[in-house]
Symmetry: C2
Subunit: 356 residues, 2 copies
């Protein structure tokens, strides 16, 4: 295992110490582990808090700052953070305006964030959970029931973070977050595996000329393996899977504050259609250079244009990664005036910065 680490058991804590040293505008708490904006809580503003297994950097810690997340809870590599991390992060970050937890759809994360929401509710804060489930590659996987949560998380955290900064109340933040999730679809692929430090060996093994189409961000299996094809052909597969995806019905679980219980209701994503404008993310899995991402962008943009989809904004780079895995993912999120306004709003975080 060739990694820039000291001892396996200290990987996460030392990386967090590095973040603390590099970003004094963040407060990095090491026990329990969370990253919170210095100066939090901010009176009258909803706290937007996310978290998940580490290894997907800059997600989520790199997105803490003005106009994006108020706090983030890093779990061990590819492992959900614990409810006490989320609860302590919320206590550090929450004003009377309440807390929205942004949760990628993996079973451990969902359960732990639900427990945390109940604890935060017990402290007297308004709270709601929003699940991101945007990966069209598989329904039900090793790590989750339903679709996995991937690249739309990045777009959602930016947009909803800006809305909270602008003074949206909790219900408005939640409604916007559910809309962004409903508008977003993603799919990824891997050229190589990655190695979790504690495991010491690759999560999976691909042959010299094999790729995994539809791979998850933990290296979990996708749709199929195939011989390495040209980038245009791979990009066509992923982009068409995203654009051809039909209506997707999910069951939302919502925290009923009045009755202190979880209730369920259905919500359906509508497919993309000609005339839509999107925010596009061409994301590196961590080990793929940005130059190759631009080859992906080229073909994706051609397909979008041919299908009447206009790309209103874009990100090209490593934003939701799988350690050193080589590969990429594409995320398209339908946009509208409200989403664009908050996308363009100033942001000041380690990994996304503009307007400030």
């Amino acid at each position: 295992m060739k990694k820039l680490i000291n001892a396996v058991e200290n990987v996460l804590i030392e990386q967090l110490q590095g973040m603390a040293a590099a970003h004094p505008e963040l407060t990095v708490n090491l026990d329990p582990r969370y990253i919170v904006r210095a100066g939090a809580p901010f009176a009258g503003k909803v706290a937007i808090i996310s978290g998940g297994g580490s290894g997907h950097e800059p997600l989520h810690g790199g997105f803490v700052g003005h106009g994006m997340l108020t706090a983030a809870c890093p779990g061990e590599v590819f492992t959900s953070p614990t409810p006490d991390q989320m609860y302590e992060a919320a206590k550090a970050a929450a004003s009377d305006a309440g807390v929205v937890f942004i949760v990628k759809n993996y079973t451990g994360d969902v359960l732990n964030f639900e427990t945390a929401a109940e604890m935060v509710h017990g402290e007297g804060f308004k709270v709601q959970n929003v699940i991101v489930d945007d990966d069209v590659a598989v329904k039900d996987s090793l790590y989750t029931a339903g679709r996995r949560g991937v690249g739309t998380t990045v777009i959602l955290e930016k947009v909803v973070g800006a809305a909270a900064e602008a003074g949206y109340d909790l219900d408005a933040c939640v409604e916007l977050a559910r809309k962004v999730n409903s508008y977003g679809r993603s799919m990824g692929m891997a050229l190589t595996s990655c190695t979790v430090p504690a495991a010491g060996k690759p999560t999976f093994v691909l042959g010299e000329d094999e790729t995994e189409i539809g791979v998850g961000i933990h290296g979990e299996p996708g749709q199929y393996r195939e011989k390495l094809r040209r980038v245009d052909a791979i990009t066509e597969t992923l982009t068409h899977e995203i654009l051809n995806d039909g209506p997707y019905k999910r069951t939302l679980r919502e925290w009923d504050r009045e009755n202190a219980t979880w209730i369920e209701r259905d919500m359906t994503d509508e497919p993309f259609k000609s005339g839509d404008a999107v925010i596009a993310l061409v994301n590196s899995m961590g080990g793929t250079p940005v130059s190759e991402l631009y080859a992906v962008y080229r073909k994706m943009a051609q397909i979008c244009e041919a299908r009447g989809i206009s790309i209103a904004r874009k990100l090209v780079g490593p934003y939701i990664t799988s350690l050193e895995m080589q590969g990429f993912s594409i995320t398209l999120v339908k946009t509208d005036d409200e989403i664009l306004k908050f996308w363009d709003a100033p942001v000041l975080t380690p990994a996304l910065r503009w307007g400030m």
Copy 2:
């Protein structure tokens, strides 16, 4: 060779087409190849132009935009661009205020940019070349005489680009650029090799547990190979090499506009000393995840603090890469009020953006 490409011969052109699609605020010319800010030339402003072999993205094309480069010339992968690229880029970018060519110290680049400067001079433009030679690992290498040009290039392009934007004239831009280069030192290391598409096989071969200390950005040899050590130990080696580096004397070649000839003079870099403030770059070679860079940052910051060096600003991420190589480099650039002012100035490029 596992890469996101179509045909080997089209790698560069298709990546440039992707950049053009993603960044309509740039004009990407394909024959000859250069990237220039839309709207150039800008009256009264010095054009800052760089270039070099491709494969180091986002350097240089990703740094074209407001407050940084006016244009960039990408060569084939790890191969110098040609004088006609530089000449055509200059004609597209230059106002009467003239042109500064920023050149990393590799023999082919230096020669071709000198030829280009003579051609640009022949067109009646004021022109000067500035060489970046900041790599303390080796003096004289496979690719160059003197020190190689690496990470200081990123800092220099930001600072001098902002100065040009603010209206510095050509001589002032050149003086500032030479100061930044004189203030900067870098060193890198590799965990793995990289593969140039046209070669189809790794540039060099490292054993399962070997690293290359002092590696160049083309995978050229460094100081020595050794067994993989802990990240703290590797970071100590690189940081101390940078901080312990003594006075470095180089011979500058300057274009004498009056006599249309190259003249030489000596310039010496002073060592770092306690009390210095620096801009620090912890750079990924392309395949190393940002999480591991923060482990490097942690130790580097501890060493700087212990030696009385304060880190005034920092960048952590992939800024000057070697395709998919795993590894990192550290660059420290002594700073002062003038450099900090231009570092903090607004910038709007694909890879660096703030204040806009």
